[in-house]
Symmetry: C2
């Protein structure tokens, strides 16, 4: 698979996070000739926070994770992920598979099963051959390695065209704290109904409630602000683990930690958009001057999900009329005659009509870039929101229609 034209130049140098060890294996769940299982073992005392898809048809491992997050439990914890099969819409058998995998991991590593979190990503509606994963566990245990995060990021890929990693290193109270994460996803949902997963690790000590609150808030301004095709997966999950090994206790008031975690989550979220199915342009959409943050987000997502806006961007057409249309249809408050629209720094429209200074050739030249920004000032309030998306191209149709999944 050729990497997306929007892929970063290289996979980042991820630091070792004290208190986490990784191992990968080729279980042959669906793919051949590559690793498809990732195991992460977290040191005793680690906190694990998670946010998950709100889909009403979410997959068995997602429901299992949701039930376990925040339960009181001692000892270490583990995260086990397979690619190739999503174990979604598999009925009672799906629950059996999830329980078999998490129980076997707990057994192998001497953990409380309540502290084993699993994800599955890949095709939907097919039974997961969980025995293949269980069969790899002794080998995985044997090969646990603090430096194996890169292979872990590769093992969770499905139709991704590049592995996604991000990290941060900060000083708190004179001590170094590290954050490293990985994600997979080629849209909110990819052709096999595999979808977005992200795992982030830090050696800071963060108590469970603080971490969960922080991750929930930061997800709302990172992963929940990206869209490729408006289709929400049955498996989306973000897990953040804090091992505490850096001997630095982080609280809500530690802005520097929060900012660093925010940056890592945003970087991973952007990489998912940059690997959006068929994407040729990365688009930031900012809505300013809204009555509320919710209204700003609704307008921004309406623009980001509009097939007509996305195809116009693909065609390098500065079609601001379609932006006006998307604002109009969103259902949130707007006044047609107060809109100000900018493509990059170019003032396109104001006072309910095209701006007197607007030159179509200048805007058309801007649209040839790979990284674009569309900003709309509603002019009626003080709230704003920013979301990220990609364009809608023949590549999306090819991936999703031309080949049977």
């Amino acid at each position: 698979m050729t990497p997306s034209p929007l892929a970063p130049a290289r996979f980042p140098e991820l630091p070792v996070i004290d208190g986490v060890r990784f191992a990968t294996a080729a279980a042959g769940v669906r793919y051949q000739g590559r690793d498809d299982v990732m195991l992460a073992l977290l040191a005793p005392g680690s906190a694990v926070a998670g946010v998950f898809t709100r889909s009403a048809t979410r997959a068995a491992p997602v429901l299992d994770c949701q039930n376990k997050i925040g339960l009181p439990a001692d000892g270490g914890a583990a995260i086990v992920v397979n690619s190739g099969n999503a174990n979604a819409f598999t009925g009672r058998e799906g629950v059996v598979a999830t329980e078999a995998i998490t129980a076997a991991v707990a057994d192998t590593l001497g953990l409380d099963p309540k502290r084993v979190f699993s994800s599955s990503t890949g095709v939907i509606g097919e039974l997961l051959a969980y025995d293949r994963i269980v069969g790899c566990l002794p080998d995985l245990k044997h090969r646990l390695d603090p430096g194996a995060i890169n292979s872990a990021a590769a093992a969770i890929m499905t139709t991704d065209t590049f592995a996604k990693g991000a990290c941060a290193e900060i000083e708190i109270d004179g001590k170094t704290v590290r954050i490293a994460g990985m994600a997979k996803g080629s849209g909110m949902i990819s052709p096999d109904m595999a979808t977005m997963l992200a795992y982030i690790f830090t050696d800071a000590a963060v108590d469970q409630n603080t971490l969960q609150t922080m991750v929930g808030q930061l997800s709302d301004v990172t992963f929940n602000c990206i869209t490729v095709d408006s289709d929400t997966s049955t498996s989306d999950s973000v897990l953040v683990a804090a091992t505490g090994a850096a001997q630095v206790r982080v609280t809500q008031s530690h802005g520097v930690f929060r900012d660093a975690l925010h940056a890592v989550m945003l970087d991973l979220a952007h990489q998912v958009v940059r690997d959006g199915e068929g994407a040729s342009k990365f688009i930031e959409i900012a809505v300013l001057g809204a009555k509320s943050t919710k209204d700003a987000h609704t307008h921004a997502m309406s623009i980001a999900n509009s097939p007509l806006v996305k195809t116009a961007v693909a065609g390098e057409d500065p079609n601001w009329g379609r932006v006006v249309m998307a604002i109009g249809k969103s259902g949130a408050v707007a006044d047609r005659d107060l809109l100000t629209i900018r493509f990059g720094d170019i003032l396109v429209a104001e006072n309910g009509w095209v701006a007197p200074s607007y030159r179509e050739d200048e805007a058309a030249a801007y649209m040839k870039g790979s990284n674009l920004r569309i900003a709309v000032d509603l002019g009626i309030g003080a709230h704003s929101a920013t979301v990220w998306t990609c364009d809608l191209t023949h590549g999306y149709i090819e991936i999703n229609a031309d080949y049977r999944s």
Copy 2:
């Protein structure tokens, strides 16, 4: 332009509606070598009902029509429509253009300006050369003809690939009542931000309030149940005029009239979907067993607007997993394990997993048809909804991205 593969075999034989006369002209608003203005004159005493886009950025003529519908006024009425320019997002100048056109029509035909309804459809953000339309009015008045509805249906087309007409003839109290209508649209919105318009005429006598109520209710189960790309236009309008010339007074209790009007509106709505941009398949989506009609509609629209469902249909892939995904993301109530999914008569999934009788080759053969039905029984209530859409193909990308609009 090659007609859509889903177009009806021919334009129907529309009956003359006593009390309505039509004329068309080539004003050269944007297109050359074709008629682009349509005028309909309605006899004194005609009732005119209308439903319009709820877009917050709706066009000047839409706002003008909304203000006029239902106002007390005597005498005849008129509908004037131009194609090629939507007079949308044109600021104060847009209001001036609409007022100039409706005032000139009133003057030319001796009508109260409050009884002149106008629509404009075509490009957005460009000033409408209303003087060209005004200049045609004497000629249009001279050529008003009860039999010219076919040319009227052609004059309102923008990127449509075929003219759309539908009609009904019924007996009420031993007298014949006729309904004839036309529509334009190639999606909720077409490349130039031109969009859906429909005009329907009957010689029944229907009082204003009854007609408005009936048209509102019937729009909710016809035009408001179609989608091509989820993008709502700034100009969508449906006008229904009743001249009373058949000497038959229709009230809410006349089920036969209501049913006939419903059939005409549904026929026109289906034709708009059949002319959907790039469409190769016409898809009916039925959701049954819902907690409420609103929930059923939300689920059905979530399936109909899912790019992944629409590309799967384009690829003739019976990808029921994507239907499960669309149900899950819709936000309305559903229980994954109670879903029953059918493609045509083929039982695909039940009890939270693929049906034991399901054979992929059978479903794949079904998907090769041009007219498909996807039905989902939620199994949790007694309410249902049906919507209509088309697939998402390379044709859609070509129309909206490959060419500058």
